[in-house]
């Protein structure tokens, strides 16, 4: 891989995405066989630098790095102290001075990983920046689709939920379009940003229209704070008018995959029966996550001098 960093799918070419997915599938196969002691990152150090709370993404990156034999350090920085404490650039320089090979950063501000990447020698992986991108999540979603559907090209993916605040929706949009899929989106107008149609999404005016003929139906998490900010009256009303249930799923292709980046609000974005149903790939996405992150770490570092 030619890139020093993986900051988003906007900046990756289709071939690079395919390369990550292909190695990711291999990694997933190994994980399923219980092979968790691989040598690819032996002697390398990986730091996770999280300015936002996260359980699964950080855990997933940490395990991915450890399965590849890397040393892993976790740095947590409370969001509230970001502005008062050391600047991001100074933190990056410090990690660089410690000969850290890869920095995995999550940050509440869009563009923060780029600022870090422009400063440090280490590889930077964006683990989610504000409302900008979450490339590893989109890659794990695409890996899951590829595994279960065979191909992504020509497939139709419906994304429903809080699109406005979602870095996941955008990274998926960029990646899926590059691999030739069709992407439809639906959200309350208060949670739909402008301009996604110009980026290739089909913005729909109903759940049914979005889901019509879909191979994949993806729900996005609704944060309770969005309700408090007045974007919709209540979670109950959201579920009733915007949530995905069995009735809505009838419009999708039979056996369409049900996905969600998690954590799920049961009965809000998706009904419990869909979450627990045969078509749900939500748990499988988690395993894809570790596998795709292993692929990202290996591909980024494999050209480095020892």
């Amino acid at each position: 891989m030619r890139q020093k960093d993986i900051l988003g799918l906007y900046g990756l070419e289709a071939g690079e995405i395919e390369e990550i997915l292909s190695l990711g599938l291999t990694m997933k196969g190994l994980l399923k066989e219980g092979k968790k002691t691989l040598p690819d990152l032996a002697g390398k150090s990986v730091t996770t630098l999280f300015y936002e709370n996260s359980t699964r993404t950080r855990c997933s990156f940490e395990l991915a790095a450890k399965y590849l034999g890397a040393h892993v350090v976790n740095l947590s920085v409370a969001t509230s102290s970001v502005q008062k404490g050391e600047t991001l650039i100074d933190t990056g320089k410090t990690l660089d001075a410690m000969r850290c090979d890869v920095i995995v950063i999550r940050h509440p501000v869009g563009g923060a990983p780029k600022l870090l990447a422009d400063t440090v020698r280490a590889h930077v992986i964006n683990a989610g920046d504000g409302m900008n991108e979450h490339p590893s999540q989109a890659l794990l979603d695409m890996l899951t689709m590829k595994e279960h559907l065979g191909t992504i090209k020509g497939r139709k993916v419906a994304i429903l939920g809080d699109i406005r605040h979602s870095r996941v929706a955008k990274s998926n949009l960029y990646g899926l379009k590059k691999l030739g899929a069709e992407v439809t989106m639906y959200a309350p107008k208060t949670l739909m940003p402008v301009g996604l149609d110009q980026m290739g999404a089909k913005i729909c005016s109903s759940r049914e229209e979005a889901v019509e003929g879909a191979d994949v139906v993806m729900g996005l998490r609704i944060q309770l704070e969005r309700q408090k900010a007045g974007n919709f009256p209540s979670l109950g009303e959201y579920a009733k008018y915007y949530g995905v249930n069995e009735e809505v799923m009838k419009y999708a292709k039979p056996g369409a995959l049900v996905m969600h980046p998690g954590p799920v609000n049961r009965g809000v974005e998706l009904t419990s029966s869909l979450i627990d149903g045969d078509s749900s790939k939500i748990e499988d996405q988690v395993l894809s996550g570790v596998a795709v992150r292993m692929a990202m770490l290996k591909l980024l570092t494999e050209g480095d001098c020892q």
Binding site: T87, M131, E133, P193
Partner: protein, 422 residues
């Protein structure tokens, strides 16, 4: 002193003239070659153009309180380097300019620095807190030329109405920063395609327009004048145009970045593009130029907002708002508006000198016999590349670094004295 054979930008056109300066004032304007003065010093201006000294009615000089960003001295050096002979400084200092003592301090620093004329703008409310009116009468007596809440809108409409009425008693205008904070809601860029692309929080035009509309309603209803700061939206231009057509006493300003840039420049997260109000879309940019052409927008200001590199070299949301503008304003305006065919040289001089003088009742703004010899002498043909490292201002924060422009200030004269030469 004689300025010999200059292209002089007079109110009614550009003429080849000699200008004789005596006792700090323009003593004589005569056809080129006719200006007498054998014993006097002569400044040959054959290929140069003489503008009335530029006046910027919206700058931030940061002193007192934020001398790391700028001082009155470096700000004034920056002003004269940009061809400005008079600047009006906003009150968001520390302490806030909300009483005669701070006004007097700035006037004292103006004299010590002795470069350009500096006119303080007082806050509308004490401490810019939006609660009690600041000591408007006292500030006027000490030298304040207007009042402004600067960077904020006075949220309480009744208080704003009182401010406009009370200020009018003292012949002062309210300069209104128009921003509905609840609608901006933490937005840092214009809401549109590029806010979605970057994931940076957007702010809609309505956040600016709503308050423009409110200030226009107040001015109309109360029968007092009002001035709208840094208009950035096409819809705001239209609101002002319609109000002017109805006879509302409104004047308005815009800045070079609003008629030169569009929001595409945020896509690389360069914090030098972060400014309030945000840089908007092409339709806004075109409407701003149209507004300057048809007189809806009276003047060009810089909103010169110098910052230290530490204030900008951080994540976009945490970076300070503002552009260091004094040293690029003339060249950007000339390149974009005159070379772009929107304005004549006389019209540009009107926007950058005569209009702000009229709006704030300042002496100057026109080249005529008897006026102070405040002049900007420019080589319009010189092409140069904007390099912030060459700024006299402490603030190197500009989104225009590397841009090619035309029009280089060669001399700036204040009261007949050369305060800058290149």
């Amino acid at each position: 002193m004689i300025l010999r054979a200059a292209n002089v930008v007079l109110k009614d056109g550009v003429k080849k003239c000699d200008i004789r300066i005596a006792d700090g004032r323009i003593a004589e304007i005569s056809p080129a070659g006719k200006g007498k003065g054998s014993a006097e010093s002569v400044l040959e201006c054959q290929n140069l153009t003489v503008f009335p000294g530029l006046i910027d009615m919206h700058v931030h000089l940061r002193e007192p309180g934020f001398e790391k960003k700028e001082t009155i001295e470096t700000g004034a050096m920056s002003a004269v380097k940009g061809g400005f002979t008079q600047v009006c400084c906003m009150p968001n200092t520390k302490p806030v300019i909300d009483n005669k003592i701070v006004v007097s301090y700035i006037k004292a620093r103006e004299k010590e620095v002795n470069l350009c004329k500096i006119h303080p703008i007082g806050a509308i409310t004490e401490g810019q807190k939006g609660e009690n009116l600041a000591a408007i009468g006292g500030m006027k007596a000490a030298g304040a030329v207007a009042i402004s809440e600067d960077g904020k809108t006075v949220v309480n409409t009744k208080l704003m109405a009182n401010a406009m009425l009370y200020a009018a008693d003292f012949g002062l205008k309210c300069l209104c920063h128009c921003e509905d904070a609840s609608l901006v809601d933490g937005g840092v860029v214009h809401e549109g395609y590029y806010s979605t692309l970057t994931g940076l929080k957007g702010s809609v035009r309505a956040a600016e327009d709503i308050v423009i509309a409110r200030e226009l309603c107040l001015a109309e209803s109360l029968g007092v004048p009002v001035h709208i700061c840094h208009v950035s939206t096409y819809s705001g231009v239209q609101l002002i145009r319609e109000a002017k057509a109805r006879g509302v006493q409104v004047t308005a300003e815009t800045c070079p970045h609003y008629f030169t840039l569009t929001d595409e420049i945020i896509k690389d997260f360069d914090t030098n593009t972060k400014v309030n109000p945000p840089i908007r879309e092409e339709r806004d940019r075109l409407a701003i130029i149209e507004g300057l052409k048809d007189g809806t927008l009276d003047c060009i200001v810089t909103d010169h907002a110098p910052h230290h590199a530490d204030d900008k070299n951080v994540e976009y949301n945490f970076a300070a708002f503002g552009i260091s503008g004094l040293e690029t304003s003339f060249a950007l305006s000339y390149t974009q508006l005159v070379k772009g065919g929107a304005l004549t040289l006389e019209a540009l001089a009107q926007k950058m000198s005569a209009a702000p003088a009229q709006i704030l009742n300042l002496e100057g703004g026109e080249i005529k016999v008897g006026a102070p010899a405040d002049l900007a002498i420019v080589d319009l043909n010189e092409e140069w590349v904007i390099d912030p490292n060459e700024f006299a201002s402490k603030g190197k924060n500009t989104p225009f670094a590397g841009r090619k422009v035309y029009g280089k200030v060669k001399y700036t004269l204040v009261n007949g004295e050369i305060k800058y030469q290149n």
